[in-house]
């Protein structure tokens, strides 16, 4: 670690701060997207996207394939020409600037390492392209390789490296010239799960220490949540929600976001007249659920959102009154063992509610058919209008 720290110290000016948005390297690296739009024929693949990314922020574009996240990134990189809107870097419109003059660091899907160059020359590429002298190139490349712990592999070719090592070379190549902004397009997509987690930590760590702005594209919600300062969730070319990971996870803007970010219960019913600041949803069984008042109209069909881990599950059918909690009775349909958690499917008048319990040592799972009571805080619930 000492070695790595000295390498980082060498990165000097950039390594000023460690907290996210505050660690602006001399205030450079702000990115603003203004009504950014891209159409392919009839289809609008990026639809009026707005986002303001602060210097030093780790910002993720998260969405399913075809949501427009990669196209958005490619417009920032300069490989795709926008049909509308603007991209501002530190306040300046970069529309007329070609990709090679934008000065962005880039990590590509599948790395795009040069097969005819060894690791050293791959990492040196951005510096040589900028006409750096030999000594400066050597020093900077060795620093970047030490940073990604590949110092010993300088003479190898990409074909002789493992997937994780290739990923590190791509990372070193992207940051070697200290770009204020780094773009990454699904950089961990090709790695297996354990390696992916390791690289997430490493990328986040390097980003924090160098204080660079990161624009990161992924379809993996856990990856986005664990690394990002803020996440923009995209669907069908639009940003459907933008916020901190906890915000978007706990208070999704719509059922799509709720489901995309993790397991979600969406219990259907008819929206009843609100009581003060509390919205109510009546289920087919006549049971009533409550949530903080949202934008749902009374009388319309609606869905109540609650995360499985927020729901308490207790044996027994008795339902003690509690004004701060939603309570449902049902029977256990199935219990799946997922290692750290037990996932129950509970039948509530024909509808299935998912409940996650920590797998505590010695706790016997409730058997199928057992009558249970479900309870969760009203404050953690949301009511959405029914889809379609």
């Amino acid at each position: 670690m000492v070695e790595v720290d000295s390498v980082l110290a060498e990165h000097g000016r950039a390594a000023a701060g460690t907290s996210s948005a505050a660690a602006a390297p001399a205030g450079r690296g702000a990115v603003e997207l203004r009504r950014l739009t891209k159409r392919y024929g009839e289809e609008t693949v990026v639809d009026s996207v707005d986002a303001a990314i602060a210097p030093g922020e780790f910002f993720s574009l998260l969405g399913p394939s075809g949501s427009g996240k990669t196209t958005t990134l490619m417009m920032v990189a300069g490989f795709v020409r926008p049909d509308g809107g603007a991209i501002l870097v530190d306040g300046e419109d970069i529309a007329p600037v070609p990709p090679q003059k934008r000065g962005l660091g880039m990590v590509f899907q599948n790395y795009a390492l040069f097969p005819h160059l060894n690791v050293f020359e791959n990492v040196a590429f951005p510096l040589r392209a900028r006409g750096w002298g030999k000594a400066a190139v050597g020093e900077r490349v060795r620093g970047a390789l030490d940073l990604v712990r590949l110092g010993r592999f300088a003479d190898r070719y990409a074909s002789q490296l493992s997937g994780g090592q290739q990923q590190r070379v791509a990372l070193a190549r992207a940051i070697v010239f200290h770009p204020p902004i780094v773009l990454m397009d699904e950089p961990l997509g090709a790695l297996d799960k354990n390696l992916r987690f390791e690289m997430q930590v490493e990328i986040r760590d390097i980003q924090q220490r160098l204080g660079m702005t990161m624009l990161y594209v992924t379809h993996d919600q856990e990856e986005a949540m664990s690394m990002s300062d803020r996440i923009a969730i995209m669907n069908r070319g639009r940003i459907v929600q933008l916020g901190r990971p906890a915000e978007v996870y706990e208070r999704p803007a719509d059922p799509f976001v709720g489901r995309f970010l993790g397991e979600a219960n969406l219990i259907e019913g008819i929206v009843a007249a609100p009581l003060g600041e509390i919205a109510r949803l009546r289920l087919a069984s006549g049971q009533e659920l409550r949530a903080p008042r949202g934008n749902s109209r009374s009388g319309a069909r609606g869905m109540l959102f609650i995360r499985p881990e927020q729901v308490e599950i207790m044996p027994g059918a008795a339902a003690p009154g509690d004004p701060g909690a939603n309570v449902l009775v049902g029977t256990v349909r199935r219990c799946s063992f997922l290692g750290n958690i037990l996932r129950y499917a509970v039948d509530v008048d024909g509808a299935s509610v998912t409940v996650d319990r920590q797998n505590a040592a010695g706790a016997a799972p409730l058997p199928p058919g057992a009558p249970v009571m479900l309870r969760w805080p009203v404050a953690d619930s949301l009511i959405f209008p029914a889809e379609g």
């Binding site: 300069g78 070609p98 090679q100 097969p115 005819h116 590429f125 040589r128 392209a129 070719y157 074909s159």
Partner: protein, 291 residues
């Protein structure tokens, strides 16, 4: 153990059987090429009257004679110029083919491949129509008043070079095209994204990655060039005697089979040496990981 052995045995058998697919090609090669060749050499050398020492002396005299060495030098010099010309002309065409779509692509492919399917004699005579003293090129140039006398475009070195370059161009273009198609466009995009200008990207990424194609194409063209006969015979002048023409002359005019066989053998050896280079290079291509 039994499972492993059981799964391996059919795999080995399949491989053994796939070798049989080569049989027809091998039969053609052996009976229509190797056997006649060996037979030709044996017959001609067997017919030689005299001792082995006399034979060696005569062979040395022939292969070190001025006409043969001159022809060999001319052959290699022409082959070299043709190869370079074809490379310079073919590289941009091949690159265009990798990027073009639609009509431009179809037109370019057609104009490269169609001549490839046409007989060399037909193509050579076409050039003679164009380049002759009263050919199209000279007529047009004279009609426009650019020149007063017809330019000597044919029956000289220039005619040989033009004709051979044209005939061999498709080999170069198609070889280069295959190599260029294998270059991942993501690498060019990566280079631009990392700050490289178009020229720098070409110099450091595109050109090196197309190098195996250049070497393969150059060797194919060179190997074909040194055995060329029809085009130089029809379009060349007195000073453009290539080895193949010399061999033909020994057979047709002098009826000296041993000399023709010796010269053929020498030409074959040069070709084989070049082929070994070619084979090595295709290996190198795999080594650097180009697909």
């Amino acid at each position: 153990m039994t499972v492993a052995a059981g799964s391996r045995a059919p795999a080995r058998m399949r491989r053994d059987l796939t070798v049989l697919l080569l049989l027809p090609a091998a039969a053609i090669l052996v009976f229509l090429f190797l056997v006649p060749l060996v037979f030709f050499f044996l017959r001609t050398f067997a017919e030689f009257d005299g001792t082995t020492a006399q034979f060696v002396a005569q062979a040395r005299g022939l292969l070190l004679s001025t006409p043969f060495l001159t022809a060999l030098a001319t052959t290699n010099w022409i082959a070299l110029i043709v190869t370079v010309t074809v490379l310079l002309v073919g590289y941009p065409i091949a690159y265009y083919l990798t990027t073009a779509t639609g009509f431009g692509m179809r037109a370019a492919v057609l104009s490269i491949v169609l001549p490839y399917f046409t007989s060399i004699i037909v193509r050579t005579f076409s050039w003679m129509v164009l380049l002759g003293e009263h050919g199209l090129v000279n007529d047009v140039l004279r009609a426009t008043g650019l020149i007063a006398r017809p330019l000597p475009l044919m029956y000289n070195r220039l005619g040989v070079l033009i004709g051979m370059s044209y005939v061999l161009l498709p080999y170069m273009v198609l070889t280069l095209y295959a190599a260029m198609r294998a270059i991942d466009p993501a690498l060019l995009r990566a280079a631009a994204g990392l700050g490289a200008s178009g020229f720098y990207t070409f110099r450091r990424v595109y050109f090196p990655l197309s190098l195996p194609g250049i070497l393969s194409g150059a060797l194919i063209v060179y190997i074909l060039s040194i055995g060329f006969f029809i085009t130089p015979a029809l379009m060349g002048g007195q000073h453009d005697i290539m080895v193949a023409m010399l061999i033909d002359r020994e057979l047709e005019v002098a009826v000296d089979w041993p000399s023709a066989a010796l010269m053929s053998l020498a030409l074959l050896l040069v070709t084989l040496v070049l082929y070994i280079f070619y084979y090595r290079i295709t290996d190198i291509r795999r080594l650097i990981g180009a697909r």
